[in-house]
Structures are given as C-alpha cells and as structure tokens.
Symmetry: C2
C-alpha cells in the first residue's frame, strides 16, 4: 500500500518542505516538522467504519492514516504495538467525586511503554529509506522501544542513554541486542551526541522531537481514543479531557496531531481537551504555557519521573499549542504527588512507572483546583510499566513484614 | 450465564466429589482434583466457530469452557487477562535449523506473567462462593497476579512469598495493595503456611497445585493455542510440540487439561505433544518422569529461575502425565543455558524472565539431542516478563560502555 505522505510543514515558520528536501527539522529555523497527509485522498478511499472493522489488533489498523507504506515484521512484536486497553476506574472516580474516569494503559505495549508506537513507525520509515543503522537518545523507554522493535525485525540499532537511567531500562536495551552507550551526562547530552553521531556515520536518527515520524507513531494513541469513544458514545469526543505526562513534549504533540488529522478528515467535529502534566523539577513547557509564550527556556531537570526529566524539551512549542489549541492546560505536580499516584493506580490493578503515574497526579490536582469539574469525563494515560523502575515504586509503599514460616509468627503480626 | 461445572475427580484415586464435598484436594488421599464439566451440554450449546467469533479479546472468550459463571470486573485489568500474542520466530528457527517455530508471549498479560490466567479464574470463583479474603503462596508471579487482579475488582488479598523473591516481584505485590508477608524460608514454607492460615482464618486459598481452579485458568492458554492453530492450519494441532517450563507442575497440567477438554468435546482429534522443561537445580518432576514413576521426591531447589524453583512440586503427578500421555517428554537445562536463552529471545524482541526463557533452553537441547526433528513445528511459551528479574537479565548480557558525551569519546570506543 502506498502511503498518503505529501510533505512536511514547519511548526514555526509554516513553510512546506518536500520529503526529499529535509529529513528531520526545518532547514530554516530548526523547527519541528509536521507530516502532511493527502487528506482528500484518504477520505476518498477510507471511512471510519472500514478502519473500525479492521482485524488488525494493533496500531497498524490505522495504516491508512500513517505516512508509511507497510508495517513489516508481520508476526513479530513490532506488529503488536499499540491497541492498548482502556480501563474504567470507577473506584478512583468515586474517591475524586467524579462521574467518569478511564485509564489507557500503555504499559501493555510490547516493551511496556508508549514509546513502542513511535519506534514502530520510525522503523517502518527506516526500511523505506534503506537505513542500515537506526540510532536514538533515550532516558530508557524510547531506547528500549527502538531496541525491542529493531530486534523483532533484525534491524541494527544504537542507543545513547544517561548512565543514571533505571537498571531495568538499561537491562532491556542490552537484552534486545542493541549497541548501547551510556553517556556520563544528562539525557540532553545524549540527545546532542546522537545527532552528531548520526550526521557523522550516516545513521538514521529516531530522536524524539527531532524525527518527524515519532509524532506520527504517537498520534495512534489519539486514533485509538477516538475509536474507543466512538464505540462508547458516538460523536461525544469533545466533552472528554485527556491527561498525559509531558517531558520533551512529543507525546502530547502526537496526541494533538492525531486529533488534528481527524479534524482535517472531517471525521470528528471537535477535539478533546488535552492536559499536559509535568513534574515540578522538569517543567519547562508548563512554565512557557503559564507565561503565555512559545519560548521554551531550559531548566536543570530533577525529578523521580526519569522518563520526563528533560532540561530542554525538544518539542516544546507544539506541546504548548496542544494544550492551548484544544482548550486544555498544564498542571505541575511534586514528586510526592507522583509517588502517591503510583500507589493509587496500583490499588486498581495498574502498575505505573513515575512518569506514567504523573498524569493521574495531575488529574488529582486539577480536581482539587477546580480546573476539571466532577461531571466532566476524563481519560488518563499511563505511559509506562512500573516494572521499569522498581526503586521508585518501593518509595510509594510500606516495606513488607518479614516473618518466620509459622502460624504463631503470623498471628503475632496479623493485627 | 450458568457454568457447566459438574464435579471434581481425584487425579490419584479417580473418585468423584461434588463441589459441596470438598474445596481443594481429595479428602481421601490429598490428590489434585480435576474439574469435570458437562461436556454434552457444552456441545449442545456451543461450537468452535461461535467461540472463535467472540468479540472478547481475553481469556473470557472461552467462558463456555470455564467452571465459573461470570468474569466480573468488566473494563478492568481482570477482564484483560490472556489472549496473548503468538510471534513467529523465523530467525531463531533458522539458527536451530528448524522449519517452524513460534513463541507465545505471556509477558503481555496484565501483571506480565502466565499466572494472571489462574488468578482471574480463582477470583471469579471466589466471588461465587463469597470469599472475603483470597490468599496465596507465591514465588512472586502468582502473588502479583492475585494482587493485581484482586486490586482490579477491590477484593482483599493476602500474599506469602519467600523473602528472597526478586525486588520487582515484591514491589508489584505491594503496589497492588495486597497484604504481603515475606517468609523467612522457601516457597515451600510459604505454601504450607498459606494453607494453615486459610484453615485458621477462613480465607479462600489460591495456592497453585492445591486449588483446582488454577488449572482451569491455565488451560485457557491451550484453548488459545488451539484457536490460533485452527486459524493457521485447521486440524493440524497434532504435529505441534509445545514447550513450557515446569516448577510445581501446574502450568503444564493446565495446558494438558485444556487439550483434554477439547478432546472430550470432540473438537480436536488428537492433542499436541507437551514438553516440560525444568532447571537442573529444581527437577523433581523430570526425575520422576525419567524414572517412569509418579512418585515425586522433594529436592533442595536452587536455580536462577526463581519462578520454577520448588522443593516439592504440588502438581507433580499430573505434570508427569501431561508429557507422557501427550507423547511429549521432559528436558532438564542448566542455569547457563537459561541465561543464554534469555539473550537469544531478546534478540528477536522478547524479554523473558529466567523461568520464561527456560522453555526455549529446553528446545535448544531437544534439537541438539534429536528429541525434536528440525521439520517438526514447535511453539515455545514464555511465561513471564524479564522486567521482573533484572538482576538475572544482567547476567545474560555484557555490561554497556560508559563514555563522555562527545563525538571524540564515541569514536575512541566505536570499534
């Protein structure tokens, strides 16, 4: 199948570029590029119903809306990314006094995070352009996603991650057989080195907020939310508010892009409100949003939520717009609130990593501060599995009791 | 829906018991109980086609073959257990000189292990009998599965685990809000204490190889293999060999029970061969199989594969029979072979915990020793996620290089 990829448009200067002219960012001002599709042609060939009836239980059911020709890797983990479950969270809703609350659980992706979506699409693109090596900087999840998806199809991958990444995330990178370099520095240092290395060695760079195809992968979560809502209550996407954690801003930009594509196609009448949640110690985008600017100023990031710990967000402008243009907003939460959110989600059977629970922490604050009214329906996205950061999880719970294996010992501690 | 649960049959003495007469094991000889269904009635009401067309993408699509009335927990993680993907493993097949090889990936269950299947069914049963507290002994995964599924529906759960369980597994138990007691002893000590505690406090005991409903949950993997094979190549289940790791013997017994149910229903003509794989240091069942006996003698278990580290297997008799009666067999592998298997599976994008990779290690040995011919189709089951035991994973890989974040530093190490 031939994709409907037309060209790129710079999110800063608005100028269009053909796909031959540039690979990553705007040659003029370095702005992030939006992928422009041939919406008229898509509309001629497809209808929502035909997509909803796909037997493909993965993000590849939305191939007609994606800028790649073919998923590849049929029958491998690459082919099983996305299409994650949406759980009802009635007990949490009751606790918050809310009428409707859902959690979309991205930890059920092949490598247990949202990032599989981006890696799946970038790998498909990589094959089309004949990339020999695909490289990415990562705080852990994006790297694991690239390494895992690449392993699935036998593609060479190189990962640069900060040496401070949680052990489970580093283990994942290594197990998947990627070439891993731990950088004695921050994520931002790894990011810059990755771009230098891809220029130097001709590698295809997957960096988030740099390669325009990551956004296209991430938008598939918005398409899934759309399909889920259409099945639940057709045409009522608008009252929904979507909460998602924000680090470099690429996931929230991807969600926004997905809904914008659906608007372009005329398949939805209005989009849900999108709320970004940042950790206090890594809140460069939220600060710009509150100050009413699109100028993103770097911070010195420090938060327990390693996946969203970013000094200089690389997709900040579009991330600010995602909230502003959808009528959503930004919320900033403390590490303590994030740890509480891990425990709260755990009690309904969802084990989230700190960055995953951050979105729920944001909802709690939004309800407390009246930003969300109790009768407004909300969907919270958990972006990754708690198994990826056990050290953080253990800070959210009380240490268990250790006993001798006897009934007497048990009785002594049981109350 | 009213289930077709008829009664229990002791796997040792063959005597039948009504569901009122006993809850766990044979009152006569303590043997494991098989759940007997009203196969004639199932056959009257259902056909494979009606089951295959279910829109339920979870193990609950097989509700007509399960001894519970209702899943409960609609829209929660409990409702999303099972229906795991089967991946083609062409590159591993090539390496082993095989024609057909697949991996069924149980790490994609809600709490990332096979055990969610058992916990989902035991919880459904617990609700039917009005259990206030459900308790289990666990090396980690069964407990996490019970804790997670219980959290999903707000059921009280108590877990006894050896204090030596991997940190990620203990973190999972705690995050899901279960009451956790770490036992200063082995899994077997925790097992015995759990039974004493359930007798003493009137808790419903989920213990594996004790509660007959765990097998019914685990059999759903066999039903999925059946449906997958029918879609792939109808009627050709027989040439398939299924490889699975074995600890207490309950998973392999569950697989066997699933295929036996299908035979009873006349829905399959013959069953696949089932191969159990045990770690050298925890091989009580394999030893009995090799000695041609059903007498299981305890060992002092020691293996890196903590999920299958068991002194006295509680479902050993049925586990021996699963291999013998299906024309399969047993294979014993070293911890070194298990670590290699983790790395091999990783290179096709599957991150398995040691017990999960054990099945693949068994296949490698079976091919080397001509137990399996290269043209025989094989399905290997990965029973759990490698994220649950990062310490073990790190033993399977080479430590990554640490560099300064400069192109010069990268160039110095790149070859």
């Amino acid at each position: 199948m031939q994709s409907d990829l037309l060209d790129y448009q710079c999110s800063l200067c608005g100028k269009n570029y053909s796909i031959e002219e540039t690979t990553y960012t705007c040659p003029g001002d370095g702005g992030n590029l939006d992928v422009i599709l041939d919406y008229a042609n898509i509309n001629k060939q497809f209808q929502p119903k035909s997509i909803f009836s796909s037997s493909e239980h993965s993000l590849w059911r939305y191939l007609p809306l994606l800028p790649v020709n073919d998923p590849g890797g049929m029958g491998t983990p690459l082919h099983k990314a996305g299409y994650t479950p949406v759980y009802t969270a009635n007990r949490l809703a009751d606790k918050l006094g809310m009428d409707f609350l859902w959690v979309k659980d991205e930890s059920r992706n092949p490598t247990a995070s949202f990032k599989d979506r981006a890696s799946a699409i970038v790998l498909a693109r990589g094959r089309e352009i004949g990339a020999e090596v695909i490289v990415t900087a990562s705080t852990g999840n994006a790297g694991a996603a690239l390494a895992g998806m690449a392993a699935a199809i036998g593609q060479k991958a190189v990962i640069f991650a900060p040496r401070t990444a949680p052990p489970a995330k580093i283990a994942q990178l290594l197990i998947f057989g990627a070439k891993v370099y731990l950088v004695d520095g921050t994520y931002d240092d790894a990011f810059d080195l990755t771009i230098q290395a891809s220029d130097e060695f001709g590698w295809y760079c997957r960096n988030t907020g740099y390669n325009p195809f990551t956004t296209e992968g991430k938008k598939t979560a918005a398409l899934e939310i759309w399909e889920w809502m259409e099945n639940l209550q057709p045409g009522l996407l608008r009252p929904l508010s979507v909460f998602v954690s924000v680090g470099d801003g690429n996931i929230i930009s991807g969600l926004h892009k997905g809904f914008k594509d659906l608007m372009q196609l005329g398949w939805i009448e209005s989009m849900p409100r999108i709320f970004g949640v940042q950790a206090e110690g890594s809140a460069a985008i939220a600060r710009a949003y509150f100050e009413g600017t699109e100028n993103i100023t770097a911070v010195t990031a420090k938060t327990i939520a390693d996946s969203i710990s970013v000094d200089l967000p690389r997709d900040g402008v579009r991330a600010v717009r995602a909230a502003r243009e959808s009528g959503g907003g930004y919320i900033v939460v403390s590490d303590e609130a994030i740890l509480s959110a891990i425990a709260e989600l755990g009690r309904i059977g969802i084990f989230a990593e700190p960055a995953g629970a951050t979105a729920y922490a944001g909802l709690v604050k939004a309800i407390q501060s009246d930003l969300i009214k109790p009768d407004e329906p909300v969907l919270v996205i958990n972006t990754g599995s708690g198994l990826k950061d056990v050290r953080a999880a253990m800070q959210a719970v009380i240490e268990p009791v250790i006993i001798d294996p006897t009934l007497e010992a048990l009785k002594r501690v049981i109350d």
